[in-house]
Symmetry: C2
Subunit: 154 residues, 2 copies
């Protein structure tokens, strides 16, 4: 990649989330709880021309290595993303996010009448009907949730 197309520079330590579907970086930031009022440096590139995808977004979070449950959340919004953990400018771990066919615990059902929103000891569970655009279906009440419903919870 030539210098001119490298819109955001390399980072020393932290996490690089690459191959986010074009236009979705701000959603990924939201789901990670990055409001801007954080300590570390975060750089974002939106709608960058890409070989794999038409356009892609990228997020670089300096000084923070994402945890597995955070990576799972990203899969909901950016199913093609790759996560690189960087230490001393070197990628020490590279993984693709993967949306499981059954999702547990990450999101709540948006249907207030669903039993999973009552006081019963019931674990929120969804089936993935479609990855992109996202459509997940509640195991208990059949309610269908889309990306905007998921984003409201973060």
């Amino acid at each position: 990649m030539s210098r001119k197309t490298l819109r955001v520079s390399k980072i020393k330590n932290g996490t690089v989330i690459d191959h986010i579907t074009g236009g979705h970086a701000l959603d990924v930031i939201k789901i990670l709880g990055i409001t801007g009022h954080v300590d570390g440096v975060v750089t974002v590139a939106i709608n960058v021309p890409s070989k794999k995808l038409d356009t892609k977004d990228m997020v670089k979070i300096e000084g923070r290595e994402l945890k597995a449950e955070e990576v799972d959340k990203i899969a909901l919004l950016a199913p093609h993303a790759t996560i690189n953990i960087v230490r001393n400018y070197k990628v020490v771990d590279k993984q693709r996010v993967k949306l499981p066919s059954v999702i547990r615990e990450i999101v709540r059902c948006a249907n207030p009448a669903c039993i999973s929103n009552s006081k019963e000891p019931v674990q929120p569970t969804f089936y993935v009907d479609s990855e992109e655009p996202l459509r997940i279906r509640c195991h208990y009440c059949g309610y269908i949730m889309e990306k905007q419903d998921v984003l409201k919870q973060f």
Copy 2:
């Protein structure tokens, strides 16, 4: 500035919003209506160490030159920002945003009972009590609005 601290690369054509108060870039993006689902490339750097400010944010919008009324909106959230219009990698216009002492038209009063929210032909008007943190006071009803109240309108 050395290459290593230049976190976001130069752009060919467009607008560079620099010296945004650290942590406020995402608010600036929101007030400009950039949801990510736009055509052009946008790069953002959050919490970058700065000489002038403790930390600063920066937004680069490729292929779009901000209009005067957009610059005025930015002043509400980032009163120290500088706006550079770039053509063919050269800065052709550089200006500091300026929050006027009286604000007209940009925002509406958040008090639903205010006469400026009725059908009367009344122009929303606010006095700036404080720039940072933002506090603006409605000319008609005295209602005080802060940054979060302003952001809700965009």
